[in-house]
Amino acid sequence: MPIQYYIFLCLALFSIGVTGVLTRRNAIVVFMCIELMLNAVNLLLVAFSKMFHGLALATDATTTVGIEGQVFVFFIMVVAAAEVSVGLAIIVMMYRNTHSVDINFLNRLKN
């Protein structure tokens, strides 16, 4: 499978996430679109890790080149889980103060 197919798939998913952040006003949906972008990048990291692993495997049968990509995906998932817990707590606090999850209320953050 050519690597370009995977790049195009991940670019499409990432652009859908960008479009969602730009067009939706519900803070929770915006947050979900950010998760979508994170997942697109994760998939691309795994694809590149397999690409470099395939290159190295041709010369050495026991190599583990490219495994870093998958370790990084694991750490991105860890950070995303922590980020979601804090982000949703902020959204709940915002709802408690304004009774809305409209992101346009956030421009009143200053007072």
Partner: protein, 166 residues
């Protein structure tokens, strides 16, 4: 067309279609359910790439834990379906235009890049996606970041509790 290619295109169409449905759904709960389908499609891609550990972790952590947290918050704050104020049509159009031109630009760029042309990636062979090699690397070379991430979790937990309490 081989079975791998058929699976790749089917899963890609499934993922992109579900991702578009996340955007166009008016009800946030429907968006969450479509996003879970996107995560299942991405897990399918991980299985195609023989990244078995990440496929399972993706289902457990994303589709299981994080999306349940989203659903929980949506149901907790009880948003009414019609209460979400819609952006104006012009703003939506500009958003779609910006996203589309971003995609077009990057696709055109990648198509021209010489380093990416003719590169194949290994689909079902290779052992780096299995638990044993990943665990070995994670607990030898990456043990310090692994421990730091536990501190990150602790601080995120304390932060979420403090933000949620007041």
């Amino acid at each position: 067309m081989s079975i791998l290619q058929i699976l790749f295109f089917a899963l890609s169409a499934f993922a992109i279609g579900s991702a578009i449905m996340v955007l166009v759904s008016k009800n946030p709960i429907h968006s969450v359910l479509w996003l879970i389908l996107v995560f299942f499609a991405i897990s399918g891609h991980y299985i195609l790439l023989n990244a078995q550990f990440l496929a399972i972790v993706n289902i457990i952590v994303y589709a299981g834990a994080i999306m349940v947290l989203f659903l929980f918050v949506i149901m907790l704050i009880n948003i009414k379906k019609d209460s979400e104020p819609q952006k104006q049509f012009l703003v939506k159009l500009l958003g779609v235009l910006a996203g589309g031109s971003f995609l077009t630009l990057l696709v055109a760029l990648i198509r021209q890049t010489e380093q990416m042309q003719g590169r194949q990636l290994l689909m079902k062979d290779g052992v780096i996606g299995l638990i044993h090699p990943l665990g070995k690397v994670l607990f030898t070379d990456y043990v310090v970041p692994f421990e730091i991430s536990s501190v990150l979790f602790l601080s995120a937990m304390v932060g979420a509790v403090i933000i949620g309490k007041k």
